[in-house]
Symmetry: C2
Subunit: 339 residues, 2 copies
């Protein structure tokens, strides 16, 4: 059996998984931002017709999944496995969206890195022949996140300058053995990094070192350089975290330049939309990938993408107990050509 | 590339992952039960020397990991990936146990099915050559679970007759490409099943239909029968759930008999230990597998095992919102012989 392990923490998809379809759903505020025209479905009603924010999040996931299936001309029966997760306690957004649909389902928790983690694992399942078609699905919702992690919206809590705004959005990707692409090429699994940041409202600073470590491992393990990509995006480091990653690379003599962007800065207009450091949440990188980036790849406006999901692995309880914020970053490279 | 997909929801490990080492940690009450002599480490102090129950849970995971590494004569550097998860909000038990240890880490959430889910995914990573050695690790802690899901212990809450007792325990398994075994042979990924049970203190009844569906799919997909196994264990259905699975099979003319047992009933003496329907929690099936079952396989007292992790995918919030309890079950078959 040929080894697909590379270097310290990377893998290569020897049989490259093809992206068969993808779909994105976004909320009202996201549809007022720079990527407004990229999302498949935008809801003016952020309850998505449901009675609670959590049920709204489940509804968003169901909508993204159905759209991705429709685009691929498939039904639930065509999927051999789903890799799903979200930010809610016990990941109930995902468990309830997959309930009763008959799809074999593996639940993930990677905080806001979930879109990359689910793509990576769905990619493994395809490349190795365990699945013929598999799904990567995730979401976040501003209102369910605020209530769970911070305060119910009705309290009118104040936000600190380094805070980010949880994106209301969902993304779904269906992978298969053959297709026109884009294709997954390789991936780097992140280690859990904690540089001692204790401010739970400064996720960007907490996650940036994890993004830096994973990017560096990716380049080392696979003998690649930033120039090998047209675009490198991190999930949702926001303005401050993006700046820190640039600085960390700069100290090593590497200039990432405009090739390096962040989904949290792309989805909102940071000047006009009052989102402080930018967007966050699993739905941020998911909706930017499935609503914007993969569309550009399909239109051949983008050839080689390194998609890096970043997650802050804290809980309100760990903050209350005085802990710092561990973080993780998983990277998946996506290309328009199979080889 | 040879397909490793089987039937509706099963996979076959074409290159069978070898279990290189395993370790278990348990608390005081678990060490008073029928499996007392099986655990590697038992702590009379359920704080494990830490200041909070959540930190105690993290400490348990670290201990199980270190023991498994020691037994295999390895260090963290030898592991290419870890598949980890627990029951705490945002899976902080696992994130904090893996923080800073340099092991590439993928977080999972499968409620009490996590030991099976992590074995299944770690097995995929080995069988396909993505990893040379990988880790499956999980835990639960009675006190952190009670506080999070029900009431702080100091409240002295009453328990209903169908309630289960969350096991304080952790289990770690290290898989590799070659070794003396036991070996993973195949696995079945569960779908999310919900038969409308709304009593959050009756997990056994909520999870039993998921266990039934996965077992049936396993037998169908792989052309196997219960008699092909020496032992079939479910994770933690407890007495009532175990009875329901037996009844569901009985209706189809299949008698599982004494070959079918449940980890939640094995770990405690249900008559004497005041645990009502039995043990539960990720740590239940994890410590029974790593403390009892794999030991029996190493001693060749057990040849073919079907290990079925069962998880109730609710949260306190979904119960408050009037929802029923979705459940999942993942099955992994383990054999002493490679072929």
């Amino acid at each position: 059996m040929e080894s697909a392990h590379r270097g310290k923490q990377s893998i290569e998809f020897l049989h490259r998984p093809a992206i068969l379809s993808f779909a994105s759903v976004a909320g009202k505020k996201e549809a007022q931002g720079p990527l407004a025209n990229c999302f498949d479905i935008v809801s003016e009603d952020t309850t998505f017709g449901e009675k609670s924010w959590e049920k709204a999040e489940t509804q968003m996931q169901k909508t993204a999944l159905q759209l991705a299936l429709d685009k691929a001309g498939m039904t639930e029966k065509d999927l051999d496995a789903a890799f799903v997760g979200d930010l809610l306690n016990q990941c109930v957004g995902s468990s309830f969206s997959m309930r009763g649909n008959g799809i074999p389902t593996l639940g993930l928790y990677g905080a806001c890195s979930t879109m990359a983690e689910s793509l990576l694992l769905a990619g493994m399942s395809i490349s190795a022949g365990f699945c013929r078609r598999s799904l990567a699905l995730t979401s976040s919702h501003f209102a369910s996140s605020e209530r769970q992690y911070r305060f119910p919206l009705g309290y009118g809590g104040q936000r600190t300058p380094t805070a980010q705004w949880t994106v209301t959005g969902a993304g779904a990707v269906i992978l298969g053995q053959t297709g026109n692409g884009p294709f997954l090429r390789n991936a780097t699994i992140g280690t859990i990094v904690d540089r001692g940041i204790k401010d739970a409202n400064n996720m960007g600073a907490a996650m940036a070192p994890a993004a830096f470590e994973t990017l560096r491992a990716h380049f080392d393990d696979l003998s690649l350089a930033p120039e090998d990509y047209d675009l490198i995006v991190t999930g949702d480091l926001g303005k401050l975290g993006h700046q820190i990653v640039n600085e960390l690379f700069s100290r090593e003599g590497v200039q990432l330049g405009t090739r390096y962007q962040d989904c949290g800065m792309m989805i909102f207009d940071l000047e006009k939309q009052d989102v402080h450091c930018g967007g966050s949440g699993c739905g941020c990188s998911a909706s930017v990938l499935c609503g914007h980036l993969l569309g550009k790849m399909r239109r051949h406006e983008l050839t080689r993408l390194l998609f890096c999901g970043t997650g802050a692995l804290l809980s309100p309880l760990t903050t209350q107990q005085g802990e710092s914020v561990p973080a993780v970053c998983h990277a998946v490279s996506i290309e328009t050509e199979r080889s």
